[in-house]
Symmetry: C2
Subunit: 203 residues, 2 copies
Amino acid sequence: MNTKDLRYIKTEELIRSAFLNLAERTTIENIHIKDICAEAKISRNAFYGHYESKYELLERICKDASENMLSSLTEETVQNLRENLMYGVTEWCIQVVYEHRDLMRVLSKSSPAHFQKIIRYVFIESTLKELYTGTENIQKNIILKMSEAYISDALTSIIQIWLEDPSTISVRDLAKFLHSISHHAAAFFYAKLDENKNIKRRK
Amino acid sequence: MNTKDLRYIKTEELIRSAFLNLAERTTIENIHIKDICAEAKISRNAFYGHYESKYELLERICKDASENMLSSLTEETVQNLRENLMYGVTEWCIQVVYEHRDLMRVLSKSSPAHFQKIIRYVFIESTLKELYTGTENIQKNIILKMSEAYISDALTSIIQIWLEDPSTISVRDLAKFLHSISHHAAAFFYAKLDENKNIKRRK
């Protein structure tokens, strides 16, 4: 199948938007291939020409979203991270979630585990890899592992509440709040990373 | 049914320990009444003489655990809270979880949502009620709501990792770490509570 074929691209769009429409109304477990096909007005064969299962489709949607979000990680933001200027990073994080708010809201309701994984991957794991080598050692040290989980789950929790109704607080005010409540924990985590001899700052 | 009857008490113990044995090996959704009865070597009628469903049983176990954990909240700990001496509170929290580690570990694996609810109820909601009146207003203010969720989910996350193997770090070291990473966020939350005119410190 030629994935650049216009009909293929059109069907792919129909599948994704049908899946997300259904995910607005129920959890991933309760979505069946036949519902996706009915919503997209395509045949089962057309669906299976693109994906083996709804889980493969969900993984692909999450992977694309993560890559999209990460593509906005500029050298300036990385430089802020390097210099421990946490505010710029916090602002980037909130801004990026805001730009992807429709998809993120659907994922946070229909599949909290995938939502949590995206937040962790984009805002914690990927940014740490920009700053350090040897980040795979984080999981081998209980304090580092707990610090990463603390920051990641606290961030997920705030974003999840925000996405219930993004109009209750502005991007700017949320970035300010998130910075106020979390910059100390982030600084603590960086200090512990810097103490670990298997994890090195990139120049 | 006389709930003080010795046979009744014995059956209750059998049901609870059978349920927790099963919960060690699988999630709550996959436990059926017939499995509980087989494990406890009791009849279905005996089970239904105690509970209407596995969910009622689970709720009761969680309620008893919460009350048990809260019964160790001494006036001294509350006084520490009042004076913003966060270390004493952190130590109490870790010590209490340690004393209930077997049950808490099983719950954190078999029903993460119930586990999270207990942590939040015992260590956040109940301690706040000791300190303030009007805590029901927390949910009406986005910054307070997010702060509470931040602290509660970050704490849950750390405890969950710890319970995978409580021997990796001592109660004392974990309390020290938790205090280091979280005292700033807790102080921020208290400051915001003190600013809110619908929430008042108890004398």
